[in-house]
């Protein structure tokens, strides 16, 4: 039997939620993507779910709790990709695997990526909430490895930024997922390999 991973490594994935909570988080994510976190009120979330504000408050005590839960739900997917990549033997293979997984994720969820990557409230949350901060450090650690020189860091920032921002760009809004994924992968490899 494989030994269970340390607690810190499976925090996000192990969070369980009720059906009512999942409805709220799904509606909130949609609204965050369209209006930003600050531009989304609890009334809007309640209306989207089809319940009253009080019903929403019964599930989450504050709006900030909803924001955190949304971030955790989405980053749990990133955590899975990270664990798969970290179990690879060579660093090169780990980076390659991570790249492919992240692009798949970003394309599949492109409608919502902007809400997490760019929103100032989310950015602050990622920078201040220790478990999420730790996760992002692992992601960047894998991407830049031991090399922490300017070139590697700019390249890593560009890759992360590129994938996140390109998938939400209006110029590619009408491309199908497969085409977008292929081109993205080709160009992302060019950023790193050359």
């Amino acid at each position: 039997m494989a030994s269970a991973p340390p607690a810190a490594l499976r925090q996000l994935r192990s969070i369980r939620r009720t059906a009512a909570q999942e409805r709220i988080l799904a509606a909130a994510l949609d609204l965050f993507a369209d209006h930003g976190v600050s531009g989304t009120s609890l009334q809007m979330i309640a209306d989207a779910v089809g319940v009253s504000k009080a019903a929403v408050y019964h599930q989450y005590n504050a709006k900030s709790d909803i924001v955190l839960a949304v971030a955790e739900t989405e980053l749990a997917k990133l955590e899975e990709a990270l664990e798969a990549a970290e179990s690879e033997a060579s660093e090169t293979r780990a980076r390659g695997l991570m790249l492919g997984r992240v692009i798949d994720m970003a394309v599949a969820r492109r409608r919502w990526v902007g809400a997490l990557q760019n929103d100032p409230v989310m950015v602050r949350l990622l920078a201040e909430h220790p478990p999420l901060q730790l996760l992002m450090e692992r992601v960047y650690g894998l991407l830049i490895g031991d090399a922490s020189d300017a070139e590697a860091r700019v390249a890593a920032a560009m890759m992360a930024a590129t994938i996140g921002a390109a998938v939400v760009h209006p110029l590619v809004a009408d491309l199908d997922d497969d085409t977008l994924r292929q081109e993205l992968l080709r160009i992302a490899r060019r950023i790193f390999d050359a």
Copy 2:
């Protein structure tokens, strides 16, 4: 004498503002960058300028007017770069010039780029306000030229997205402008040339 450019080409640059208006727009841009447009109240802007809300309303009748004026001010700089590039003879040279200018701009103003590129309110404004829409179409037209196939469009989206998002990325926050500009230019060229 050089003939004056058509009216549509110099709309943004020709807008004049009073000192009081410029103070408001500068404060608003800073706050938009930190909190997003929706997360910035008129009270916050007034406090940052050091006046009352009513004084702000005397300059701009509504918050949306401030948002529009901020967008126009920033995009006026892009308009200048575009005009310089469009006056080039060859398309290749035009693209190269535009690339360099846009990177210079993005790096110099990196603290504020995210507010314009990513904020949902700004995105909606760019998509709905005809003069700004027109400007962005000219920018993308220059970048992808006649080739409007998937490869060119994804590459253009990636380049625009990359520059905009990489300059605001935490990984490069402590790099000096020159280093960031050099690396950005190197990698951006790789996206297009290969």
